[in-house]
Symmetry: C3
Subunit: 404 residues, 3 copies
């Protein structure tokens, strides 16, 4: 499911041949602390990173193999508000899952029940009989596009890794210290910000090898084990840690050298005081990344390079070479600036995308998805479009591949 | 009581000689999802339809005979805020009950208790002794006006019927599908909108004969039984159904011909998809009635006349001759436009009233009630005023009858 | 603790040699119904009356002797948001406690725990070892200032008494009648308003002698016993009662002569109706004190002098000579006007202070505390500054005494 962190998916995945999940993009909008404006904006399409984030997560959990077991084919019955998806979205979500590596997209359900508790949950067919529902007609069209595409190759390694640690989430959930320090929110917002730069992302298990990645992000990683420390030490690319990284030992104590504990030596800094901030409090940050901290700030002492500072001169972003530490929770725009800085420093090829458009490569194919209400035209290039065209309609997609 | 739908009042009424209810107009403001602006506006007077709606309901339940068993005579003690009624309101509410057909208005309570749990609930007399409270003095004045009026005739049949089905309410309460689809809210808002056009209303039991009514409204009627279908088929006037009419069988299933089930044949339409909308989402509607849908929209296929459409061309209001179906929840102003359209189409004589003024006939008498803070002058006419004058003071009333 | 009214502190104090309390000025901001703007403004300093109010209360409970048992030395771990105190505040709070008469200020805790449930609660020392935390360094500086000041004399009687009755609080909590009639809120807001005029305040037990006070305030005193009535009758100065004073007998009934019961004779008025008002309702008041009532108004009949009236002419503030009764809950600015009127009428020397600055005398020393973010300069005078200077920095203090 989406936004579920109540068990360690990595451990469960160890015993599975492939992973699967249930994708209800619109219903899941309710599970995330979006602003009211975002809820209105994405109410009939979902946010363009909710399904992709979980595709990337479950692809990781399945070691490259995953299914969508239940795809939302229309309005569901379990959220406070259950709008019909905007026309085109059932088709879009289907292609999107395959772009992120899905082997199968199965819909829940085949026919809408005409009785019982779930009778208001849409199906591919209307209740009573074999007449396709609006979503069912879109599923048929998606199948036609997939047939036209032919077999898709395996997903290659992405340039960016996002480290996702369930145990760390639980560590912070036990004692938030600041009510708004929400681990899953940080994960999705970092994912969104780096994807807005046109990047593909692998969501990886903490301690997994980071070789081959240009950039590794650890937005929320309170516990850093020896294995993780080793993976970071061996990483090929830039590693950026969010606040509270290394702040707890695996036995839930403050490290004897103060946070960031095992990372203190390579980052050359320590945290002496933390401050959680109520909504509305903003702390200016200026330097290589400028903007505002909200929710969380730390007082750190750093011997490494100080890249940005708070208004009182205290370091906000520090590190050396390939290791950076952000001593605050960045506001959304500041997070975008931080991701841009990290992507440039990591040497990534940046392709900025509008808020509602995303890009994803699978094998030789490049997919563009437009969640917005206006058409969007992909930049000119050498590729050829095998599904759709360079001008991508609202709530539509296109797929290209290199000219042979 | 007000806004109570936990039992079927019609069935209870079958065994009663007359019905009665407890009218706490100010306290009941808390029980209805008014906007903050309305709560402030009506905080010391109540909304001008809360007591009348229930008078009309209990008159129906009592088959023409009803009492007010407990009339609020001043501030009560059980709401979060218990303001003293604005001067004049106790008197106004008393006359209003009689205008709507009450045989008796009894106040709770005779004397304010000076001890115990209810000691902050006002009475007609102050605690300790026989000194009239402010409300008690108004009750005395109301009695004088009623004496001056003399015996009031029985209530005649109104031109408008509002169908009120408790079982249908429960049906939707079990599974709202949209959190804001509130049956009682729809009932009161439709009642308000048609009353703003100067109409008297009978609230009728589902399945009761609709003969003699120029207009019958069914804002919320998910279950349509054979008896109801028969009553609609035999109705003399226009019948307007709200969204979700006929959407469930009496066994709580989706009808085999899809909603509106038994009404599909006469309305010549079917519903293929429904969408519940979060607050803030508005869907334009244009045609014979223009404005916005909120909360709920339906995708319908109609062979009947399409009177208004959504922005994507899908029908929003459809029907033939004397049967109309609204496939959405109308915003307040749109609801007013819809009621105006229905009233005109039904051939009613429309007398538009300001937001705080209402009109009610009982026998030969016409009552005007002014809940507002400014005087209001009734239009010139042939009648003679037997209580008050044509210029009706703030929080006041006047009663006229035809020149003999 | 702060804002605790669950037991009668006066009775507990009878058996103690001295009183003590735990002062968490920032965490306590959460316990009081501040506006959002105030919460942002005072988030890192606390409101300038929270700690002082409780110092004055516990000094009274301890009959002149009190300690701060636990002083917050940095961010705590138990509020929804736990910001680090603004630099200077730990030092300020320490001096402030002594200015209000504290014999001891002890901090919780000596060293931050590195494990267990409280590991995120700051201490004077960092976890692991003997290195002072930011707050610990401020505590050391405060100790240096206190050493420089030398022994402070006992607290003298203040010119203003604030009567604080726990039993009366419970009386109103049982039946609020208006959800926003919050006794503790009234107490702190009256205290704030009179302190903004440069006054020292003793918080006194109901029934205690009021001799020697120029002004006695009883914001919330629903039960007036014989002993209390006697103390008011013997008071030397002006006594101002808030609404609902004397409204209940000790057996929780309405007095036989109506409220204000035992005070009716001296105040020459009675209350015939009360009205609790929802947020947003404002009732104009005009006269010796002008502004707005909110939350609560009373309809009173007064034979005493009427000093201010509601818009309908009904008395809002009435009394004779040394006894006044306010028949409403004043809005904040109106409360300030009421306190100003009372202070002038009582013949107090008024020194208006800005919102974030407070003044407190202990023996011959006068302390100024600046909670604000800008420096503030004390008015020119004959005194000499023994700690700090006349220009008081943001989040700083100064202490003066008369030129010898």
């Amino acid at each position: 499911m989406g936004f579920i962190d109540s068990f360690d998916h990595w451990k469960v995945g160890d015993n599975l041949d492939f992973a699967s999940w249930d994708s209800y993009p619109i219903g899941f909008v309710e599970r995330f602390p979006f602003s009211d404006a975002e809820r209105l904006r994405y109410g009939e399409t979902s946010h363009p990173d909710i399904a992709p984030f979980h595709h990337d997560l479950y692809r990781g959990v399945g070691r490259g193999r995953f299914w969508v077991m239940e795809q939302q084919p229309g309005p569901v019955n379990w959220a406070p508000y259950n709008p019909a998806p905007a026309p085109g979205m059932v088709k879009l979500w289907t292609l999107e899952a395959h772009a992120h590596g899905a082997d199968v997209v199965s819909y829940f359900r085949w026919r809408q029940a005409h009785f019982g508790q779930e009778q208001m949950h849409a199906g591919l067919n209307l209740p009573h009989g074999n007449e396709l529902s609006p979503g069912g007609r879109e599923a048929r069209e998606a199948a036609q596009d997939l047939t036209a595409l032919g077999p898709l190759g395996p997903s290659q390694q992405a340039p960016v890794a996002l480290v996702f640690d369930y145990e760390g989430f639980w560590t912070l959930d036990i004692q938030r210290q600041g009510a708004s320090f929400a681990p899953y929110e940080a994960m999705l917002r970092w994912y969104e910000a780096i994807r807005r730069l046109g990047q593909d992302i692998d969501i990886v298990r903490p301690g997994a090898s980071l070789k081959g990645y240009r950039l590794a992000l650890a937005p929320v990683l309170p516990i850093v084990t020896e294995a993780m420390e080793h993976a970071f030490a061996e990483a090929d690319g830039l590693v950026l840690f969010g606040a509270r990284a290394g702040s707890k030992t695996p036995r839930y104590a403050i490290p004897s050298n103060l946070p960031p504990g095992p990372l203190a030596e390579s980052l050359r800094l320590r945290v002496t005081e933390v401050s959680s901030l109520r909504p509305g409090v903003r702390k200016p940050v200026a330097g290589a990344v400028s903007g505002f901290a909200e929710r969380w700030t730390e007082r750190i002492e750093a011997k490494s390079e100080i890249l940005a500072r708070f208004a009182d001169g205290s370091p906000a972003l520090a590190g050396d070479g390939q290791r950076l530490y952000a001593a605050f929770w960045p506001e959304q725009r500041t997070l975008e600036a931080l991701m841009h800085y990290a992507a440039e420093r990591a040497g990534l090829t940046i392709q900025p995308l509008p808020p509602d458009v995303r890009r994803r490569r699978r094998g030789e194919h490049v997919f563009y998805f437009n969640y917005g209400s206006e058409p969007w035209t992909a930049p000119e290039g050498e590729e050829t479009f095998v599904v759709g065209r360079r001008e991508i309609p609202a709530r539509g997609y296109a797929v290209s591949r290199p000219v042979a």
